[in-house]
């Protein structure tokens, strides 16, 4: 099998691509290729990963221009002409090489009130949430987010408006708006409304197109738009 030519971003915000040759293997993932470089060719290469099975959301990078989870992206599917270009996630500051600074991404989860606020204590009965209730289904549709940042890197509104909370934070807010045990719904809807929140979304669906978990943050954001309108009209969220 012909060797794979991998161009890897080196440096911080200022830097350059460095080329490596990596042996091809069956079922090889992009993360496998990056790991080979770090273990066999250049131990100073910095990158992030943890679970390697698409659960932790830490290995997202820009692969041939598109944000992807590298542990579940097969080289066969993305290497055009036996070449790969691997860069850190877009729309985030670069720490070094393939490592992006995720602070603003997660700070925005906090700003959009992404924390669950319980309404019961440990002495109360378990909440009985019907699995087929409309709210539970809405929450289910968005709850599997792994926080990888792929949607944030794919979003043009994030690029144009640095205050925009982004698809993942808004998706998280929508799952909590639909959590009947949560006690911060009004406060959360106020936090996600306006020019930095759900109303800034242009419904371009880049987040939905790129989400490795096949979630639709666009749908969640549309839900937030309706819910904030209901709040503005005087109804309860």
């Amino acid at each position: 099998m012909k060797a794979l030519r991998v161009s890897v971003w080196r440096g911080g915000a200022e830097g350059r691509f460095e080329d490596f040759e990596v042996p091809r293997r069956g079922s090889q993932t992009v993360l496998d290729a990056v790991t080979y470089i770090q273990r066999h060719l250049d131990p100073t290469l910095s990158y992030r990963f943890a679970c390697r099975v698409g659960m932790c959301g830490s290995c997202a990078m820009t692969v041939n221009g598109k944000p992807r989870w590298t542990c579940r992206t097969h080289v066969d599917k993305v290497a055009t002409g036996g070449r790969l270009q691997v860069a850190p996630l877009a729309n985030l500051p670069v720490v070094k090489d393939l490592v992006a600074d995720m602070r603003e991404f997660f700070d925005k989860w906090a700003r959009s009130r992404g924390q669950f606020r319980p309404t019961a204590t440990r002495n109360d009965e378990f909440a009985k949430v019907r699995p087929d209730s409309p709210a539970r289904r809405e929450a289910d549709a968005g709850v599997e987010c792994i926080g990888c940042g792929v949607c944030y890197a794919a979003c043009d509104v994030v690029k144009w408006n640095r205050d925009y909370l982004g698809p993942a934070a808004l998706n998280r807010a929508w799952t909590l708006v639909n959590d009947e045990r949560d006690g911060a719904k009004r406060e959360r809807l106020h936090a996600v409304a306006g020019d930095a929140g759900c109303h800034a979304c242009h419904t371009m669906m880049s987040c939905t197109e790129h989400c490795p978990k096949k979630l639709s943050p666009t749908r969640s954001i549309a839900g937030l738009k309706r819910a904030t309108l209901a709040l503005a009209l005087g109804g309860e969220p």
Binding site: G194, D195, L233
Partner: protein, 112 residues
Amino acid sequence: MSTRAGARLWVAQRATAAVLAFCVLVHLATMVFAVRGGLTAHEILERTHGNYAWCAFYSLFVFAAGIHGAIGLRTVASEWLGFRGKAADAAMAAIALAIVFLGLRAVAAVVL
């Protein structure tokens, strides 16, 4: 921006888009129908003069275009030029008023 203001701008943009979709279709269909046998300024004015249904339709069109265009421009100014805040809002309100004024003047000119 308050929740209420954000939601109002959003719903105004959506509602005016729906009105515009309807108005543009009627406008195009009317044009195609009207020019079948050639068209002169005299012919147009003959049809529109004193036609208050035409006046109501195009007044609605003008208001929808003024509101929809200004809200869209506000977003473009924010994202592409970084022009935001109260000054940007005031500029966009002025643009909306200008479009509505110019449009209504044109409607009045062919109806009255």
